[in-house]
């Protein structure tokens, strides 16, 4: 059984991956005088692959660099170094607005906050029309109308006319996030970067939005990078997973395998901390204290070593490389080298 309600690979093997990051680095320089020359190490040596038509979950605790990774892929920020490869083509600086527009059409970002991301002074109609007009996707008024209805009905908001004339505040959180998703899919992207799309929604309606995203994916054949801090949600949504800690990817591979037998001590910690009611009510206590380290002065060596129950002297000396365990599994830990 593969994890995720979507098959891990439903793509022809010869197709280039939808997306690849190779050793990408992104630091945010600190502006204050006191911190002159220092920077937040938000992404260091981040490599990942999203297969065409696949779904990859990016999981990690707050501040680990997930949103930065999505922003670098969406090219809201340019990376400091490393390669970004989309559908086999290395990204290079945009030459003109047309290129940047074409990129943004292809790689769409869904934000966490369905409340902040829809302009409150615009109707749903004008919010949804925008992408069609900007990207010149509609062929006349009747076609635009049909596409708007279609976009809303795809996300379960029907009759569309009922929603088109409303303002964002006249919708529930779940409905707003559906509008957001409708807007994302309106431009027919090939890659969707979903940054915690359900974390602000009431628990009871989260599954509805998640299922809708799974259904849209099946129908449209897009590739997802799905960001979440919820391991179980990652498993539900994605065939593959990459776990980030303090700006680095610590472990990746098929979701079920990574959850079943995690190698990296941080991933094991994350797993033992995650709610799992069906696993029984008696749990073994966690064996690692402390919290995520400062990314301004990250610990030398493995960034997890200050909290790691298995740390050895060499863990403090140099950053372990990503060891390839085969079958798509990679682990950044000295334990994997034995």
């Amino acid at each position: 059984m593969s994890a995720g309600l979507i098959p891990a690979t439903n793509a022809a093997p010869e197709r280039a991956p939808a997306l690849e990051l190779r050793s990408v680095v992104k630091h945010f320089p600190l502006r204050s005088l006191a911190a002159y020359g220092k920077a937040v190490h938000a992404m260091d040596d981040v490599s990942l692959t999203l297969e065409a038509g696949g779904s990859l979950a990016l999981v990690g605790e707050s501040g680990s660099g997930k949103t930065t990774t999505a922003s670098v892929i969406a090219r809201l920020y340019e990376r400091d170094s490393g390669e970004l490869i989309v559908a086999g083509l290395p990204a290079r600086p945009f030459r003109g607005r047309a290129e940047s527009l074409a990129y943004k059409k292809r790689v769409q970002l869904i934000f966490q906050d369905p409340f902040g991301s829809l302009n409150p002074t615009h109707t749903i109609r004008s919010i949804l029309e925008r992408p069609f007009l900007i990207h010149g996707l509609a062929d006349g008024k009747a076609d635009l109308e049909a596409r708007l209805s279609d976009a809303l009905e795809q996300v379960g908001l029907s009759p569309a006319s009922e929603y088109l004339r409303r303002f964002p505040h006249e919708l529930s959180g779940g409905q707003r996030q559906r509008v957001n998703i409708a807007r994302t899919f309106a431009v027919e992207p090939s890659i969707v970067l979903a940054d915690e799309p359900t974390s602000m929604l009431d628990v009871s309606i989260r599954m509805g939005v998640m299922n809708m995203m799974l259904d849209l994916k099946e129908r449209k054949g897009v590739s997802y990078l799905y960001i979440t801090h919820d391991l179980a949600g990652a498993r539900y949504m994605c065939g593959s997973i990459a776990v980030m800690y303090a700006g680095m990817i610590m472990e990746m591979g098929p979701t079920d395998e990574v959850i079943r037998d995690a190698v990296h001590p941080y991933v094991r910690l994350l797993k033992s901390a995650s709610p799992s009611p069906e696993a029984g009510l008696v749990r073994t206590p966690l064996d690692a204290g402390g919290e995520i380290p400062s990314l301004i002065d990250p610990p030398p060596g493995c960034r997890f070593h200050p909290r790691c129950p298995y740390a050895e002297p060499r863990c403090r000396e140099s950053v372990p490389g990503l060891a390839d365990l085969g079958g798509g599994r990679r682990v950044r830990c000295v334990l994997a080298l034995r």
Partner: protein
């Protein structure tokens, strides 16, 4: 669990607003034994915080308790004068507020805030108060060095643990925690919950733990109360509620978080949205979203919690749900892709 610490009987409370009275807690009853851990779950706006404030008698100016009682060790908190409540609040019963980690005073050190809490209620020397503060910090795994730290020098998880230390410093018998871990990462969340659990075993206080995250509560609670639109709709032992939910809303909530390690199956959550408490729907408030609803569900007064035996209660008059009619709801659609 022996004796009863808290008994809530038909408690109603709410807010006077320009548009009318919002009855955020509507005829709620439950009881809590000494040393018991009760989890209260429900969606945003269902009245969880209002329930906590009503018990603590900390309701805001536009809010009031309409009717019912809250017996704390046999004495009715709802009927006490302000002075009588003051004698109990913080000393016998304490609360950790929602978003408490931002509730610390930014200009006072952690030590000053802890000792102030002691001096406000006990006549002890400064040295005694400081010793108590250091002891409480140690209980929540924070080194006494941190007494001199200011809130901004602590991480979110540490601030939350300071708040717990402050709530426990006068050794209350009842601790109410309103979403104490919601803004925190899972690892920090888990370590705080384990800390509370350990302290409860050591010190023997009772806990009411409020959250919207049911998956968390199932593991840690003795009993669970599920609230919907101001009403308690199901109550009982936590493991039984999880394995065999009786109220359709509880069942829907249990279908709202995917499994970490169990078989992967399509989960549907609950369609629709929570009702407006200014004009709640007639009959069962969950009826508009309920997959088992019958026309009779949407008429008359809301159904009350009725005992089902074994300490379980449900406010759905059809405790076996669809089965009572010999008709189960349509089976959920199989997940796509055949990856199961």
């Amino acid at each position: 669990m022996g004796d009863t610490m808290l008994e809530i009987r038909n408690l109603s409370a709410g807010y006077a607003t320009a548009k009318g009275f919002v009855r955020a807690v509507d005829d709620v009853s439950f009881s809590l034994g000494r040393g018991e851990f009760l989890g209260v779950a429900g969606e945003s706006g269902c009245g969880k915080s209002t329930l906590a404030y009503a018990i603590m008698r900390l309701l805001r100016d536009n809010a009031r308790i309409e009717s019912g009682s809250a017996l704390f060790k046999g004495r009715d908190l709802a009927a006490m004068t302000a002075a009588e409540v003051n004698a109990h609040r913080w000393t016998d019963m304490a609360m950790v507020f929602q978003s408490a980690m931002n509730a610390l005073n930014p200009v006072l050190s952690v030590g000053e805030q802890l000792t102030d809490a002691v001096h406000a209620h006990r006549s002890v020397s400064r040295a005694e108060a400081e010793a108590l503060a250091a002891e409480m910090l140690a209980l929540v795994d924070i080194h006494a060095d941190r007494l001199k730290s200011y809130p901004h020098q602590l991480s979110g998880g540490m601030r939350q643990r300071v708040m717990i230390a402050m709530a426990l410093i006068l050794k209350p018998e009842l601790l109410i925690m309103d979403e104490p871990t919601t803004a925190l990462d899972v690892v920090v969340q888990r370590s705080i919950i384990e800390k509370i659990e350990e302290l409860r075993r050591r010190l023997g206080f009772s806990v009411i733990f409020i959250t919207h995250d049911l998956s968390l509560l199932v593991e840690i609670s003795d009993s669970l109360g599920i609230m919907y639109a101001g009403r308690m709709v199901e109550y009982g032992p936590a493991a039984e509620l999880f394995n065999d939910p009786r109220h359709p809303y509880t069942e829907g909530l249990m279908n709202s978080f995917p499994s970490l390690t169990g078989p992967l199956r399509r989960m549907d959550g609950i369609e629709g949205r929570t009702p407006d408490l200014l004009s709640p729907p007639p009959g069962c408030r969950f009826a508009p979203r309920c997959r088992y609803a019958r026309p009779t569900c949407s008429a008359g007064d809301p159904p009350r919690l009725e005992p089902l035996g074994g300490g379980r209660l449900s406010a759905c008059p059809y405790p076996r749900r669809g089965e009572a009619y010999g008709c189960a709801p349509a089976a959920p659609a199989a997940p796509e892709g055949g990856s199961l």
